[in-house]
């Protein structure tokens, strides 16, 4: 494995008030880095959240999510 290759980092931003808690993203995530909250959002529904580490940017959650803007995937690049 090429150790010099810069590993890309990603993160998922889930808007709690746009999530309806269908759990599709949680089921679809290959790395299981999404979880369901115990709290409820303003619609009174539980919502998914990113545990904070381990996203590989595969976009599975984005395409599984039926809501237009609940999931955003961001690539983090580290500049020297």
């Amino acid at each position: 494995m090429n150790k010099n290759k810069i590993k890309k980092k990603f993160k998922v931003i889930i808007e709690p008030d746009e999530c309806k808690g269908c759990e599709r993203c949680v089921n679809a995530c290959p790395k299981s880095v999404l979880k369901m909250s115990a709290k409820l959002n303003f619609m009174g529904l539980p919502y998914a959240y990113y545990t904070g580490d381990g996203c590989i940017g595969c976009s599975a959650c984005f395409y599984n999510c039926p809501e237009p803007g609940a999931v955003t995937i961001v690539e983090i690049t580290e500049e020297d």
Binding site: A28, Y63, T72, I73, I76, T77
Partner: protein, 489 residues
């Protein structure tokens, strides 16, 4: 540290769904886990990526996705249940620049609108049809759909769909792929990520075909309705991948887009003046100005006319002639035919109303001012509706003199005999009009109007038979023959 957004709210959506009533303007109205949301996202992404927002028209069907126009930042139109492909045809033919996406559910496309859909497919209209198949009627609360699986329990099939009574699920994609015209038919599923990405590819391809004017593309999308099927997210995916995919196998059924040339149609006419000329050609120059009003007193009130006889005697065209004459003298005229399914031989009648004011109902079923009858049964049927002081004109070559009260004005003319002598039975209606002119001159018309009736008739006959000059001449002869032969009874 720098952050690059990889995937975010697709630009094909509005930033805020302001068309959506209520407090929520960022979300769609769909239930949690609904397949519509996923498909909407794929579509919005494709529309934005292709840069076609200014030309795209999304047709919202009847079903849960009836409010699709809340969300997409492109043109939207709501149509009656199942009629999306027909409206799409119109949108396309009127303006070939339109990229029409017809978004339909299984009740809309598979049930009520199937014929609209299959005919549009067979014509090879340049449409992208996205068929959302969720095996149930979602909006109305989970009734059995044509695509419901055998044994599947729904509100209207509580014991499970029985093949014996309800038949098998409708395989729309297979059916449409057997037609010659469609260029692209694929069935995809919105279940696992893998399948969703395949569906995304298929939808993008279908939209691209429409942009390239390749013709009819359809993607059947197996989608989940977790609420009505009472399944959670995981179970829903399993249901689609195992149960539904058994009856609706996934994959591409037809892809001929590469071998086809773009669809070409006759170009539409958009100039209002030319459209008017094509629809309402001016055949005859009206002999009077638009503000001309016949001065005779009889024309002050609304006049109701009934013409009745056998089909083929020219009953309807006689009524049409009278209405045309009214039209040429600036009356408001209505002409309402009534006849059986047969073109010749049955009884027929028509109601004509001439009025200086707006005509309300075009039906004449009482208080008739002028009754023209060409056969005995019509005489028996319609004589009672003739008003006091009304005029009766009948064809005395076939009808016995009627017994009427003295207040009625009765004229007879041997219309059929005269017409036969002149060459064709169909000229009987002009003979009757000749008789009518005499009645009008004798009893009602004043001053200049006496001459005007004949002029109007000649204008009307030219209007009706503008392309048959020999017919015009014979009709005018019949008219004057009728004028001489009429007798007051």
């Amino acid at each position: 540290m720098a952050e690059i957004v990889k995937h975010a709210r697709p630009k094909g959506f509005f930033e805020n769904f302001d068309r959506r009533p209520g407090a929520i303007h960022k979300n769609m109205h769909y239930c949690p886990g609904c397949g519509h949301g996923i498909l909407h996202k794929i579509m919005a992404e494709a529309i934005a990526d292709f840069g076609i927002q200014d030309d795209t028209v999304i047709i919202s069907p009847v079903g849960c996705s009836v409010f699709a126009y809340y969300y997409f930042d492109c043109f939207g139109i709501s149509v009656p249940h199942g009629r999306a492909p027909s409206v799409g045809t119109g949108l396309n033919r009127a303006n070939p620049k339109n990229i029409v996406i017809s978004y339909q559910g299984d009740g809309d496309l598979g049930a009520i609108g199937f014929n609209n859909f299959i005919q549009a497919a067979n014509r090879g209209e340049n449409l992208c049809v996205l068929f959302v198949n969720n095996a149930i009627y979602g909006m109305t609360g989970g009734q059995m759909a044509p695509t419901t699986l055998p044994g599947q329990k729904t509100v209207t099939s509580p014991g499970g769909r029985s093949v014996m009574n309800d038949g098998y699920p409708m395989k729309v994609a297979e059916m449409v792929s057997t037609l010659d015209a469609p260029v692209y038919v694929e069935r995809a599923a919105l279940s696992t990520t893998r399948n969703i990405m395949k569906a995304r590819k298929a939808v993008r391809k279908a939209i691209k075909n429409t942009v390239d004017k390749k013709g009819f593309s359809m993607v059947e999308v197996l989608a989940g309705c977790p609420i009505n099927l009472k399944l959670n997210g995981k179970e829903m995916n399993e249901f689609i991948d195992t149960q539904m995919a058994r009856f609706f196998p996934l994959g591409c059924l037809k892809d001929e887009a590469d071998q086809r040339d773009p669809v070409k149609r006759t170009e539409g006419e958009h100039d209002p003046e030319r459209v008017r000329e094509a629809l309402y050609p001016v055949k005859v120059q009206k002999g009077v100005d638009d503000d001309f009003r016949n001065p005779s007193k009889i024309f002050e009130k609304e006049r109701k006319i009934k013409v009745a006889g056998f089909g083929g005697q020219g009953v309807l065209s006689l009524g049409n002639m009278i209405a045309t004459m009214g039209k040429l003298r600036n009356f408001n005229a209505s002409w309402l035919p009534s006849y059986g399914p047969e073109m010749r031989g049955g009884t027929a009648n028509c109601s004509v109303i001439l009025s200086r004011k707006t005509v309300g109902s075009p039906i004449v079923d009482k208080d008739c001012n002028l009754l023209i009858v060409l056969n005995q049964p019509s005489m028996d049927a319609f004589l009672p509706i003739l008003k006091k002081n009304g005029v009766l004109i009948y064809d005395s070559s076939t009808i016995d003199p009627p017994k009427v009260s003295k207040d009625k004005i009765v004229y007879a003319v041997k219309a059929s005999d005269i017409a036969k002598r002149l060459g064709d039975l169909r000229y009987a209606n002009s003979v009757i009009l000749g008789a009518l002119s005499v009645v009008m001159e004798d009893c009602f018309l004043e001053g200049e109007d006496k001459k005007d009736f004949d002029r109007t008739f000649e204008e009307a006959i030219m209007d009706c038979f503008s392309n048959k000059e020999s017919v015009i001449q014979l009709n005018i002869e019949s008219f004057y023959a009728g004028k001489q032969a009429v007798q007051r009874i």
